[in-house]
């Protein structure tokens, strides 16, 4: 790795605790795994093409998540803990790109007079959202990963996240079981907002991007402010 080569200036007197084992070549393992992944996808296509697509995109997403060390938990936690907002800004850029992408897809359906896909995901805003987000935030910092992060680290073989996964499933089941009550008493009392209805398609896109840009600038300012006060 480039990182290890560039910083060889540190000389260590001892090699205590780091008895270097020769690393196993993982390429054969990876090749077998990819063949199995594709073979299972080929089997799934015979059953349900959509499930096969989810299987392959899920595997790719997990791989990218692991290699890029993209972490939604870190994006929310590191600004407080270390003053670093590099992951926060990466998440904001991802949000901006998805905003453009899904607006394009929705607009494409709209101009062709087709029903707009994904409109059922426009959920009403209520206090339940804010309280739930707060609780999720506490949980994900203690557990060391959000939903995608936990799944990715289980794949990495990090044992603590296997425990998290168990309680993640338990919590999801409880949440799904009680969701009807929450929906009836809290969520439906809020107001659902679809930005293109209010600002028009271009306006809605611009408002969303403007909010993201503002957050990005704030994140950038926060990082510089922190580093100036510390040094």
């Amino acid at each position: 790795m480039a990182e290890a080569q560039s910083a060889q200036s540190i000389r260590r007197s001892s090699r205590a605790g780091s008895s270097r084992k020769p690393k196993k070549n993982m390429i054969p393992h990876a090749t077998v795994l990819i063949i199995l992944l594709v073979a299972f996808a080929a089997y799934l296509i015979t059953k349900d093409a959509q499930v096969a697509l989810f299987w392959m995109t899920g595997a790719c997403f997990g791989f990218i998540l692991q290699r890029s060390r993209f972490c939604f938990t870190a994006s929310m936690r590191d600004p407080y803990l270390t003053g670093s907002t590099s992951v926060t800004r990466a998440v904001l850029i991802a949000f901006a790109m998805t905003t453009i992408g899904f607006t394009a897809i929705k607009y494409g359906y709209y101009v062709n007079g087709l029903p707009i896909p994904g409109q059922s995901y426009i959920a009403p805003i209520s206090f339940a959202t804010a309280i739930g987000a707060f609780m999720f935030g506490i949980g994900m910092v203690i557990a060391g990963g959000c939903a995608s992060g936990t799944l990715m680290r289980v794949g990495e073989g990090f044992v603590m996240n296997v425990l998290t996964l168990g309680f993640f499933i338990l919590g999801s089941l409880l949440g799904a079981y009680h969701f009807g009550w929450w929906k009836l008493n809290f969520i439906l009392k809020g107001k659902a907002v679809f930005l293109p209805d209010i600002f028009g398609w271009v306006g809605g896109l611009l408002v969303n991007l403007l909010i993201i840009a503002t957050l990005y600038i704030l994140a950038d300012k926060w990082e510089n402010r922190k580093s100036q006060s510390e040094n």
Partner: protein, 74 residues
């Protein structure tokens, strides 16, 4: 020059970072702090934090999915 080993194996993010922050306060300038980690997330935020504070950082992958972050206090 002193070398301090900090065992953070099995610790999830952000525990290694907080442990490293505390351990770095204890040592003198020029001493080395070696943080042993096996959580891929700590691989990112421990070096980033140390570099931001001006320390010299080196990462060694000692085994598959196991790293040592060597921090030289400035």
């Amino acid at each position: 020059m002193k070398e301090v080993m900090l065992d953070c194996l099995g610790e999830a993010c952000p525990v290694p970072l907080i442990k490293a922050e505390n351990a770095l306060k204890e040592i003198e300038a020029g001493d080395l702090l070696i943080v042993q980690i096996d959580h891929s997330c700590a691989m990112k935020n421990v070096p980033e934090w140390a570099r931001k504070n001006g320390h010299n950082v080196e990462i060694e992958e000692v085994d598959d999915g196991e790293w040592e972050v060597v921090i030289e206090k400035v």
